[in-house]
Amino acid sequence: MNVLKGKITAIKTNDSISIVTIQVASIFFNTILIETPDTAPYLQKGNSIKIIFKETEVIIGKGTTHLTSIQNQISGEIINIEKGMLLSKLIIDTTVGKITAIITSDATDQLQLKIGEKITSMIKTTEIMLSQ
């Protein structure tokens, strides 16, 4: 579980769905929720909040620029790789702190990921949860 602390900077609501923007250090994260400021009192601009996403939901892109539909992108450097039979765990150092990613070992091999390499970690908007 990756947990990052940030502040809510924007909330866009339509019916019962909201897209919330959270600033962590210099990075902006977006998340989509079935909540509105009316149903969840913690959804207020300026509120401190934690964002949570699972390691297995982190997508790794080689290099630093990618054109994808994924809005949450953080560039960083791989500082550790723990390779298992099927899965690999990567620790990535970014401006928002350390992020853990679990991807398949096949992907690690195909991308030829190494310690010290610059990569981009990406998380889909639908995969980020909020916690007080």
């Binding site: 989509i32 969840a40 949570i52 297995t56 690999s88 639908t126 007080q132």
Partner: protein
């Protein structure tokens, strides 16, 4: 309105513990006392029932003072109008099911209530049996019916469902809820099962070490404060297995097992038997109609 203030020094397994609580209960609500064993839940119920004396305290039920240690008032259990379902049911072995209920009648009370209760709690077929011939769930139902005969002002249930299997539990929870609603009771229930608390109660008091550390609607106390995920269930860890570089955690939710992938740093804080919340975003689960 029921106001309860109680203080008592209790000897717990870990030494002396000071029980110190202050509760306000609305008429007609079902309140659960939640917490691990040995935090004083049973003692609280026993003090409300008058079976245990607090060092200091005050109990006022609908403007009537049941207990006021400062004024030296302490009604006996007989004078407090309560229903109590004991953990061991405490059915009288020498009496049949019906006799157990009849015994609970007050002088001059209409016997109609007995057949009414036997109907609601479905005891007709068992009425001539002695308690030792009954299963755990049946005993439980008799104990519940017996506690209701006097039309108590407070119904208290001391972890009534802990000895029953999951299926039986769900059925009895329904009986309790049915009785609670039909008789407009004010009910106090002890439980350490989160799913049960969420299903049954209007208000939950989370008790730790003789103090109430949290109270409110169960859904608030147990869930939303923690994560925004809409797909949330509480359950108990039954297995943690390392596979490759990840861990697979098996969680019992109600009567279903689910498996969740977890990472080493998460697993380090967990052990088998822990109560946890399984959460996911509403965007992820797939729905498939059952044919």
């Amino acid at each position: 309105m029921i106001q309860i203030t109680l203080q008592k020094e209790l000897t717990a397994a870990s030494g002396i513990m000071l029980l110190d609580i202050n509760i306000h209960i609305q008429q007609g609500t079902l309140t659960t006392l939640y917490g691990n064993s040995g935090v004083g839940k049973t003692s609280i119920l026993r003090m409300i029932a008058g079976l245990l004396q607090p060092d200091e305290g005050q109990i006022i039920v609908n403007q009537k003072t049941w207990l006021d240690t400062k004024k030296g008032i302490c009604l006996t259990p007989q004078q407090r109008k309560i229903g109590f379902v004991f953990q061991d049911y405490a059915l009288f072995p020498n009496m049949t099911v019906k006799e157990n209920l009849l015994y609970a009648l007050e002088k001059g009370q209409d016997k109609e209530i007995i057949s009414q209760l036997m109907h609601i709690i479905e005891l007709k077929d068992l009425q001539h049996q002695k308690p030792n011939k009954l299963s755990g769930g049946q005993k439980q139902r008799v104990a519940l019916a017996r506690a209701l005969v006097r039309k108590p002002e407070i119904l208290m249930l001391d972890e009534p469902l802990s000895a029953l299997d999951i299926k039986m539990r769900a059925k009895l929870q329904d009986y309790i809820l049915k009785a609670h609603q039909q008789f407009g009771l004010t009910t106090l229930l002890i439980s350490h099962d989160i799913a049960e608390v969420i299903k049954m109660s209007d208000i939950v008091l989370n008790i730790e070490n003789g103090k109430i550390i949290q109270q409110g609607k169960p859904i608030d106390v147990f869930t939303t404060k923690q994560v925004s995920g809409k797909f949330q269930f509480s359950g108990e860890i039954v297995e943690i297995k390392k596979e490759d570089i990840i861990y697979i955690v098996t969680v019992l939710i109600g009567s279903n097992f689910v498996k969740v992938v977890a990472e080493e740093t998460e697993v380090q804080t967990m052990k088998i038997g822990d109560k946890i919340i399984v959460a996911s975003k509403a965007f992820n689960p797939l729905l498939q109609k059952i044919k």
